[in-house]
């Protein structure tokens, strides 16, 4: 189970890290990231924000992947504890940082939307890089624990 779970997380992490480089480039008019505005003369103009869309999409992918790691460990805590207590301990170090990253992303995104030309996406992209690092760390914590298919179960001392 852990091997398949690790492969799934690794694949999701790879997709998350490549999301920014393999993105579509055109936003259909009328969407939340390309709102259409009609002026008094009846001329319709749109202001696409593909950079924000790509950043949000990449953050969502990283968030969902990290949530998958946390949820799976949380729902199968006894199983992973028997594999290695270090899994939970490592994830417990990552959890507060992940919450902080989400808070920082919310603040950066709110600030950007209030004044995009001035604020820019530097803060948003910095937090995005942070949460992607946390995802890699969380995935490594599970992968290094080993499974009965690779390193075998933890060695128990003889009674």
């Amino acid at each position: 189970m852990t091997k398949k779970f690790t492969l799934l997380i690794a694949l999701t992490a790879a997709l998350s890290l490549t999301a920014l480089t393999a993105c579509k480039t055109n936003l259909a008019p009328g969407g939340a990231y390309n709102p259409s505005v009609t002026n008094s003369a009846g001329v319709v103009t749109s202001t696409p924000d593909i950079a924000l869309y790509n950043a949000d999409a990449a953050f969502k992918t990283a968030y969902d992947s990290l949530n998958l790691v946390f949820e799976t460990e949380y729902k199968n805590r006894d199983y992973f504890w028997k594999l290695s207590p270090d899994i939970k301990h490592t994830l417990d170090k990552i959890r507060p940082e992940a919450q902080a990253a989400v808070n920082d992303y919310a603040a950066a995104r709110t600030a950007y939307k209030a004044n995009p030309p001035v604020v820019g996406l530097t803060g948003v992209n910095a937090v995005l890089a942070k949460i992607q690092q946390l995802l890699i760390a969380a995935t490594s914590a599970v992968a290094q624990a080993g499974t009965p298919l690779t390193n075998g179960p933890p060695v128990t001392p003889n009674p």
């Binding site: 579509k24 480039t25 055109n26 936003l27 259909a28 008019p29 009328g30 969407g31 939340a32 990231y33 390309n34 869309y53 949000d56 999409a57 953050f59 969502k60 968030y63 949530n67 946390f70 949820e71 460990e73 949380y74 729902k75 805590r77 006894d78 504890w81 207590p85 939970k88 417990d92 959890r95 507060p96 992940a98 919450q99 989400v102 808070n103 992303y105 919310a106 603040a107 995104r109 709110t110």
Partner: protein, 110 residues
Amino acid sequence: MPVWLVTLIPQIIQGVQAAVKAAPQAIAVIDDIKKMFQSWFTKNWITVEQQNALNAWADSVVAMAKSGVFPDAWQVQPDPGIVTRVGAGWNPVSVPISAEPPPQAPKNKT
């Protein structure tokens, strides 16, 4: 645009014109062809639904961050086998099940 497609376009147009002349139902066929051509040029477009769904998700994350309430799986919780009991002063104390009682301080001999 591929050469074979360029040579086919006149034939496609002729076929469409014939269909229009043949029956009113051809109008629906023409509409489908228009949508097909449009999809060729807009297949890389991010739809309105996709944009709105992602924006709604981002707004929900912002709301969650403002509330400070994260899912249980994101919270740090005691290790398995740890129980929480009421300690001195009605303050909850987390101790392992197998924890040995604290060593007793030596009594002063008087």
